[in-house]
């Protein structure tokens, strides 16, 4: 039997989301940008699970499974774009990719 209030995990999810947002805004390295997105997705999953606990409904955990699914698909594409960007521009600075066209080889 769980006796925990649903407020505490909801506040934890909000705090993790804010930490992820701060990282997303402050960091320039694309590795940390991707990691901050993962932190925010994970906080969303925590909120879904909290809601599932609050109403005793499996839908919360089902949505968490879909959030993990989304995080995996997003990270695969994000990482391959990061690798290609690193090969093209030889840097991980997100601000360097602002031309929207090919770099002359």
């Amino acid at each position: 039997m769980v006796s925990l209030s649903w407020h505490a995990p909801a506040v934890l999810a909000a705090m993790l989301l804010i930490i992820g947002l701060i990282g997303l805004l402050a960091r320039r390295s694309l590795i940390f940008v991707l990691m901050s997105i993962e932190i925010m997705l994970n906080a969303t999953g925590l909120l879904f699970i909290t809601a599932g606990m609050r109403w005793g409904n499996p839908q919360g955990q089902i949505m968490f499974i879909f959030v993990i699914n989304l995080a995996g698909a997003e990270l695969a594409l994000g990482l391959i774009l990061l690798l290609r960007l690193r090969n093209l521009l030889t840097t991980l600075d997100g601000d360097a990719a602002n031309r929207l066209r090919d770099v002359e080889a």
Binding site: P9, A26, P58, G60, L75, L77
Partner: protein, 171 residues
Amino acid sequence: MNLSGYDIVFYAAAAFALLTTAIAITRANPLYGLLNFVLSLLGMAVVFYTLGAPFAAALEVIVYAGAIMVLFLFVVMMLRLDRTAIARESGWLTRTIWIIPILAGAALGGELLYGLLRGTGPTHAHHIVSPQAVGLELFTSDIAAVELASMLLLAGLIGAYHLGRPARARD
């Protein structure tokens, strides 16, 4: 407020997850950041367990920390980051760069906390959602969403394969 064993474990794991996440986004070396984030995910798994979601806790360890973050770690290792890259990275991490993000985060966080803490309704839940319940619901009434999730993964696979091929093969 009398704390039960579950509550103490929850607060300890929550503090651990918050601390390691905050460490993760402030490191200059991406490997240390990622390893701290993996620790945070393990703390989150304990949080999920105390919230009565043992299946989600197992998924967090096996899929999130075990598969997704290890993929991330391997790619970062493939990037061959040397000392100059890390030095440039820590050069970007000046103190002033954090001011505006923290202000923006505080504004959004204040709104979220205001909304959450003013929420009404019973504050105590008494539900443990078993893995059987999750699986039964997922593969009966939510089967269309499972198919959509598999389409999403297939799209990610094809996209990663296409973008990952060398340039000569792609043209």
